[in-house]
Symmetry: C2
Subunit: 414 residues, 2 copies
């Protein structure tokens, strides 16, 4: 993509109401725009990153047999009354439709997916099933000051699994733990992320969260460096301030962002919807459920909190909006033609390139923008590099640049 | 995909509240599920079709320079007050958030996109721009009885273009007319669709709709068979019941579905947001806008209305959920292995195959399901075809099946 054609621009300053690093950097760089507190537009560059994160999640959910659907955001009041959450969930947006109908705006989808799967699963032969969606969710948060980490409207992947017994759920739950690790590895935050024991609600002793350590975190967790797991503050008293696995009490308290959570729901939602199945002996049995959430927009914000420096964002390779930021400092028409040709060669080879072809921008401005945008590899073409039959290459994560022979560079990428 | 693993099933009967052909067929086949009137879940098969339609639209919008964003569904009341549509748009859903904030649920996005693009466009050098999204929209329809043709929640591609003068808008508008034709051609409804003159509102004499002729249509249009264009009933009196181009008064009245509409907005939305730019003479000028809508879920319903028979849906190739419906009637383990191998060869070659591997379903049930699902090519593997080194091939759109030598079939697809 030619940067001269992008409708967004980088900005030196954005709203001072934005106190979070992720919102400041993402807005300054033109990845997101703030409509109001906790509600953001994904701009062209930001949507590219979001789509990459969502496609990673999609691939890993498909790999464990997940079947993708798209459920509505408008939910009938009755479904939420059935589970008791119409009144119990304080962040639920409610609204009126024609004919005095009342709706909830989907803050979660147990109330929709449970009766949905019930329509198709009657017998033990129809189980297990795993159904997921990647969709926009709404929560009426009292405060929203963490940028895209905690929005009133945000992207969510929510998967729900349906089993004929607890052992089958347990087995699938173990697979999901690994699927989630693959997501965080590919998103570049595996190293900072801990599987964390958290409150399980009514139906299981603990749930699991994935917590990414950063000062921007709203949660406090206690890391056991021996087991490489953590415990959420909300249950640390229950565990006698010790690691549940090795009983180590030398735990490290850190701030972290919850980037995923997985629950064994048991019959919490199948019971109110009378979702049962017929077993091998023709006996009616309750369906056992699990649920698995991960917020792609929150993951995006977390990546920024973890991977940035004072100059801007440093995107991990697999979620970067582009692979190469090609910067032309060319002035003469011959040199500009050379830069254009290089851009064409790279894009023809399927490389994702942002091409800073802006004729009016100074070199310093282009470098500052490039650092702010955070594309993994910066490649400069100038009169100097052309004369020497080279390009100047600098990884965003490194301070060092080097002159690489053009033939060598092309051999690597084209 | 193996049909035995699909969590949905075909159904003989669905809710009698659904009077539309598209909802009846899509629900019976397991493409969509009805949550309540006008609000549907896209099931795995339906989401595949929807994604194909949306990707066709995305490709064609990108081809005319559109830049994709994702705007929020929650809109501040103030933005809708600014354009007067908070009170004027009767289908606008309204809701309250924390701190007595009032929001609209996005029924359209002029109120968000106009101030957004204003943040980045100041000079004639920053124009033109075209920004679009593919997103879920909400409209509080009084009645919803046309299946996914007119939902309370539905998918929408809305593009907005921004120009320095009318001539530039006019030129871009002509490009969009052609881009829309490419979308309908690829979706298989070009032949039934007419560019239709419709009411232009305040700022241009006429707008253009794309109307697809079918008895399920809620609109009445008057087709001029000489010019291959049409006039919407709402303005037929203004045109003296004659074609605007050839003055032909022998017009054909037909029912049709509006599958797209494009407007020259002029300054209708730039004016209330004071969106101006500085021209070459350093003079402030109003920005001129166009908007271009198309509903992917409505297009999906329209395709079903146009392409079905009494047995089920007949998907056009480019939007079909799968290319091949491979049906195994094999009983012996040797034959089942042969069918499995054929499935693997096809999918390894990148062909999208739904594989009816259900061991318990009868042949007649498999054929009926296959006709209902409407995948373009049905391929049967059975003891008989295996013995003859063939497969039995039948296009969904044809009554004739033929035995094709397996080697010939594989040479064509693998």
């Amino acid at each position: 993509m030619r940067q001269s054609q992008l409708f967004t621009k980088t900005q030196k300053q954005v709203s001072e109401e934005e106190v979070s690093v992720n919102a400041q950097l993402l807005m300054r760089a033109g990845f997101v725009d703030r409509l109001f507190a906790g509600v953001y537009t994904m701009l062209p560059l930001g949507l590219r990153v979001l789509a990459k994160i969502e496609n990673i999640i999609r691939a890993e959910m498909n790999r464990v047999g997940g079947q993708e659907v798209l459920m509505p955001a408008l939910h009938p009041k009755e479904n939420w009354l059935a589970t008791g959450r119409w009144d119990a969930l304080d962040v639920l947006f409610k609204l009126n439709g024609s004919g005095d109908k009342e709706y909830a705006l989907g803050a979660s989808h147990e109330e929709v997916v449970t009766p949905l799967v019930k329509k198709f699963a009657f017998s033990y032969k129809d189980l297990p099933q795993a159904v997921y969606q990647i969709q926009t969710k709404f929560r009426n948060e009292a405060r929203a000051k963490s940028g895209i980490l905690r929005g009133r409207e945000f992207r969510m992947k929510d998967m729900y699994s349906f089993h004929h017994n607890q052992a089958d759920l347990d087995e699938y739950y173990s697979q999901m733990i690994e699927a989630y690790w693959r997501v965080y590895t590919r998103c570049g935050i595996r190293e900072q992320t801990y599987l964390t024991f958290a409150s399980g609600g009514t139906f299981s002793q603990y749930s699991h969260e994935y917590q990414t350590v950063t000062n921007a975190g709203e949660d406090l967790i206690y890391v056991c460096d021996q087991c490489q797991i953590a415990i959420n503050q909300e249950i640390i008293a229950d565990t006698n301030n010790a690691c549940g696995q090795c009983k180590n009490t030398d735990l490290r308290q850190v701030k972290a962002i919850e980037v995923g959570n997985i629950f064994k729901l048991g019959t919490k939602y199948s019971a109110p919807f009378n979702f049962t199945y017929t077993d091998e002996n023709n006996t009616s049995q309750p369906v056992i459920m699990g649920c698995y959430g991960i917020g792609p927009s929150r993951v995006m914000g977390t990546i920024v909190e973890v991977h940035h420096d004072d100059k801007g964002i440093i995107w991990p390779a697999e979620v970067a909006p582009f692979t190469i930021h090609l910067i032309s400092l060319c002035q003469t028409s011959n040199d500009v033609t050379m830069a254009n040709e290089l851009y064409k060669k790279l894009t023809d080879a399927g490389i994702e390139v942002l091409y800073d072809d802006r004729p009016d921008a100074r070199a310093g401005e282009k470098f500052a923008d490039s650092d702010l945008l955070g594309i993994p590899l910066r490649v400069i073409v100038s009169a100097k590099t052309i004369a020497a039959h080279t390009v100047e290459v600098k990884p965003r994560s490194s301070a060092e640049s080097s002159l690489t022979p053009l033939t060598e560079f092309l051999a690597r990428y084209v």
